[in-house]
Symmetry: C2
Subunit: 293 residues, 2 copies
């Protein structure tokens, strides 16, 4: 399950309520495009902002709309008790797997993160993706911690932060890390602009933001037959890589969803705000450019 | 209200439930010591980990136990809707003021933080402390943003991150910032080890972690007649400053509460964990040292 393109959709709000029809549309698009899995309630899916009820409802809608595509559901929360509640809800909704980032308020110690995963793993019956995202969690894994957590039951994939853009350095990093992990644990990567390089460097899965909104163009990267083809498919999306760097990927994909008519004008949870007029214009131009021809 | 020692108690848990009797004891101790205000549900009070119901209950208990000492209640959350709910609950509980940090999951932009405060201020009827704590929020204020937020209704204090330990540099910083703020907006400081210097440098309030557990020793700093007296009172607490640097202040005050018999052995919300045996021993020695004589 944890291979190829895992597409992470927005969880759109409308007037601060879950926009169920827009969410269903986003999910259906991913299923129709043939993504390898759907990552519901990831960072792009605003899991950290939503209530337990909203998350349980979104998980149910995602599984229902996925038409058999495996759905991986984010279960992160700053408190262990809430993580366990989200895991229970996700499994009840029919999640094929769950994804957990060590999200924190007080900076966590490595031992605390290990015990977090240990306790969650002991209460799961589906596979778990370990989600390392220092920018939002404030926590940085060491390779020793990856290796320890990877031995826990149910752990089947580790999502690492963006790899270096240099292919040889990225390949060294992947093979070095793979040597520390059990054979059944895959390596996934985030960081859309370096996904093509990362997959060629040996990563098994791409946990993708752009894949959640432009799945066909993302699949062109994962399904290219050659390194050159994969790189060309990635280069086509360069206008988005530039926008991600300027505005943050979440705000850009929210604007893209609005430009494509898939959500309302402003689907993010406050205090997050959509792009200003100049940003929106840039997103419109980027959409035109990457979807042309 | 936003002057002198604002003491921030733990919100102790017992078996993952609010330990109401321990919390009442902690609050009563602060009131009896004569602190200038009580900062309930601050970072030390684990606000980010607790449910709405737990926070509302803790706010009620704090006001009830404070015997007339003003209680400032933390209302932070990553989603605006939840911040407004916590503000409503805090005011209903009788909070004299509220305290808001721009806590984030996705890194916030300055404009988003401004609008957050604007919308909260528009819905308040009590004073607001702007709480700048980059270590836990991931957001760093600029002086321009301080100045803009300070003009909003109800804003009466800005809590800045720890100031430099050099008295002259700290005084420059305080007077520079004061020139940017309306006269009715005070400057508070956190960072217990530099509190003595910061108060002498012109800060109005000390939002204090150690004051929440050892209020008498903290009051000796704020009430000293001379700079030398204040410094000596701070030096007496040096064993704690060293422990804070080694383990993080929250874990140390939780251990201190346990050593003093005020809470159970492990009152923190999981995945946070108490200190190991060596850390606990060090806390015991520190308690003995600072309370001797």
């Amino acid at each position: 399950m944890f291979t190829g393109l895992s597409a992470f959709p927005l969880t759109p709000l409308d007037d601060d309520q879950l926009d169920e029809s827009a969410y269903a549309k986003l999910i259906a698009r991913l299923a129709a495009a043939g993504v390898d899995s759907i990552g519901a309630l990831g960072s792009t899916g605003s899991y950290a902002y939503l209530t337990r009820a909203e998350r349980a409802r979104a998980a149910t809608l995602a599984v229902r709309g996925a038409a058999g595509v495996p759905v991986i559901v984010g279960i992160g929360a700053v408190r262990l008790r809430h993580v366990l509640e989200h895991a229970e809800d996700a499994q009840r909704a029919g999640a094929a797997g769950v994804l957990l980032a060590p999200v924190s308020y007080q900076p966590l110690l490595p031992d605390e993160v290990y015990h977090l995963y240990e306790q969650v793993a002991a209460n799961l019956s589906v596979p778990l993706v370990v989600y390392d995202n220092p920018r939002t969690t404030g926590f940085t894994f060491t390779d020793d911690l990856y290796a320890a957590v990877a031995k826990l039951p149910h752990v089947e994939s580790i999502k690492v932060p963006p790899l270096p853009a240099d292919p040889a350095i990225a390949a060294d990093r992947v093979s070095g890390l793979r040597g520390r992990l059990p054979a059944h644990v895959g390596i996934g990567v985030s960081g859309d602009p370096v996904a093509a390089v990362s997959l060629r460097a040996g990563c098994d899965a791409w946990y993708s933001v752009i894949g959640g909104i432009l799945p066909g163009l993302a699949l062109a990267i994962t399904r290219a037959d050659t390194a050159a083809g994969s790189r060309a498919a990635s280069d086509r999306l360069r206008p988005f890589w530039e926008l991600f760097a300027a505005y943050g990927s979440l705000r850009v994909v929210a604007a893209t969803a609005a430009v494509l008519g898939l959500t309302g004008a402003d689907c993010l949870p406050r205090p997050l705000r959509g792009l200003d007029a100049a940003g929106l214009d840039a997103v419109r131009r980027a959409v035109d450019e990457v979807t042309a021809g």
